[in-house]
């Protein structure tokens, strides 16, 4: 058997891409000297499975995720990432709670649910990469707002409010971070990262400072705090803040972002 180095799933000998996440199995990992690993670039038309459904990735500049839903499966997503669907695929809405507060924060408080059988496709609106994150039971992943593309119905979607005035004012990650949790069953989460996506695994108490606009996702075990740098920026010479990530756990970043203090 071949173990996928991205999602750790086992694959039959001779397969060239992981059946669980689509990562190429016949290519070397691309890891920089300081330990950032590039998220696997999925080959055009790669397919992978989740539950009884299949996802195919099309295109490389702004990839499309085309899902063939099994009759008993469903996925949910923000409605503006829907590219096309079979007419027969039913859509419904799911209230995530948080109502007005989420709306004020620029976050959807209703996500759209599509149920099988049928085909449906999703894409975001910027050059970048699809990041496929199969979630084992009992996992918790925090994702920056508006980076989530689609998730399988077995993944619970909630959000956490960013705490602390300094984090809120200077953290650059808005008021909320999406949280995806799996309980007893595994699930599938697809993100869209702008530009290139890199991931690093932090050891306990290991720290890294990340531009908040570049933050894409993290394990919930990674602590994120706004840290002030000994610098002044811009005409008003305001302080510069970065997101201090403290391990243990994975941190994912995207290389194209709008600086949170762009002036």
């Amino acid at each position: 058997m071949i173990q996928c180095r991205w999602c750790q799933a086992q694959n039959q000998p001779g397969t060239t891409s992981c059946q669980t996440c689509g990562a190429p199995l016949d290519e070397k990992d691309k890891v920089s000297d300081s330990g950032w690993r590039e998220a696997p670039r999925l080959r055009d038309m790669t397919e992978f499975q989740f539950s009884g459904s299949t996802c195919q990735v099309e295109g490389e500049l702004v990839p499309v995720a085309e899902v063939a839903l099994h009759p008993r499966d469903g996925v949910y997503f923000e409605h503006h990432v829907l590219l096309w669907k079979d007419e027969s695929v039913p859509l419904s809405s799911l209230n995530t709670g948080g109502g007005m507060k989420r709306t004020i924060g620029g976050m959807p408080h209703i996500v759209t649910v599509a149920n099988g059988p049928g085909r449906i496709a999703f894409s975001r609106d910027a050059p970048g990469e699809l990041v496929v994150l199969p979630l084992h039971p009992g996992m918790e992943l925090d994702v920056r707002e508006h980076a989530f593309l689609v998730a399988s119905h077995s993944v619970q979607y909630s959000f956490i409010r960013i705490k602390g005035l300094v984090n809120l004012l200077h953290g650059g990650n808005g008021m909320y971070v999406d949280r995806f949790v799996t309980a007893g069953a595994p699930g599938m989460l697809l993100l869209h990262g702008n530009g290139n996506v890199l991931q690093r695994t932090l050891q306990p108490n290991e720290k890294i400072l990340v531009e908040p606009g570049g933050f894409l996702y993290k394990d919930s075990s990674v602590r994120m705090e706004a840290a002030q740098m000994p610098l002044k920026t811009g005409h008003l010479r305001h302080g510069m803040y970065l997101a201090e990530m403290t391990g243990p756990g994975r941190v994912g970043i995207q290389s194209m972002y709008v600086h949170h203090h762009a002036d």
Partner: protein, 293 residues
């Protein structure tokens, strides 16, 4: 003795390395040249390493590449804080003030650069799909770069900036507006105290061409990425023949505003650019040639 000259950075290089250690260009590929003589700048290979001083940098990614620096204790680089993606807590970051604060502010240019000093790691990236262009500069060598294309430079590269030679004015005496199709300022980088490294970010793809003495070329002003300081520039205005369908518009609605480049020297363009917006009739400009079809 090593006599190999990298065809992209024009510096003595190592033919046995898969990529040029100074600019990251692949050594083992055939040059891609258009019929008109533009040489496509090859993308720096994913995970390629570039050497400068006692330090090196590594390029990660191909859509919006990240330049990841491993800085030796006495080496330093400077950059705008907007492009900082991540840093080790150990890397020392300090302010590097720029002269001409008010003018820079008015032109939308960064007022303060950040100095990153080793030992430590840090990484930079721009926010456009495109390419990182590495320009090693020999001692005394200078290069002109369009504003906002600068990603970072090593500490021994001097950064100056000058008002743009290309501008035009529209409107009447009471409401006159000045337009800068190539930006209000241009950056000039020069290496002193030995060789240095300059990194640019080009949205889209980048193409390089050598102009012979006296040879001229018209390019979209906002597409110009860099040029040798020996290349001169002026404005060129071109008006199409009125086809009769635009009687309610002035002819200027369909004009083209060009940058005319005069050799000798190297020029580079990027494939993503913003054409000058349609505006009123031009009433005054920097030196310009005009052609009515």
């Amino acid at each position: 003795m090593n006599t190999y000259i990298c065809r992209y950075c024009r510096q003595p290089s190592d033919p046995n390395s898969p990529t040029c250690p100074l600019c990251g260009a692949p050594v083992d590929i055939r040059s891609s040249v258009s019929d008109s003589g533009w040489v496509e700048q090859p993308a720096i290979k994913d995970m390629a390493r570039l050497q400068f001083g006692q330090s090196h940098l590594q390029i990660a990614g191909t859509t919006v590449p990240v330049a990841e620096f491993n800085l030796a204790p006495n080496d330093w680089i400077y950059f705008s804080h907007h492009v900082l993606l991540w840093t080790d807590p150990a890397t020392r970051l300090t302010n590097l003030p720029m002269r001409g604060g008010w003018n820079r502010k008015m032109a939308g240019m960064p007022l303060i650069m950040v100095e990153g000093r080793g030992p430590g790691h840090l990484a930079l990236s721009d926010n456009h799909a495109g390419e990182v262009i590495a320009l090693p500069l020999q001692h005394g060598q200078q290069i002109w770069v369009r504003e906002h294309r600068f990603l970072c430079a090593t500490g021994n590269i001097r950064y100056d900036w000058y008002p743009s030679d290309l501008w035009y004015q529209t409107g009447d005496d009471k409401d006159r507006e000045t337009h800068y199709p190539m930006g209000q300022f241009g950056d000039v980088f020069g290496s002193h105290e030995g060789p240095g490294l300059l990194l640019l970010h080009a949205p889209g793809n980048a193409f390089v061409r050598d102009l012979q003495p006296g040879q001229s070329l018209l390019v979209q002003p906002s597409a110009l990425l860099y040029r040798d300081v020996s290349v001169r520039m002026s404005l060129h205005l071109e008006y199409p023949r009125n086809m009769g369908f635009a009687f309610w518009h002035g002819r200027w609605s369909y004009r083209s505003v060009w940058a005319r480049l005069f050799g000798p020297g190297r020029v580079a363009v990027q494939s993503i650019y913003q054409p000058p917006e349609d505006t009123d009739q031009i009433v005054n400009s920097s030196y310009a040639t005009t052609h009515y079809w």
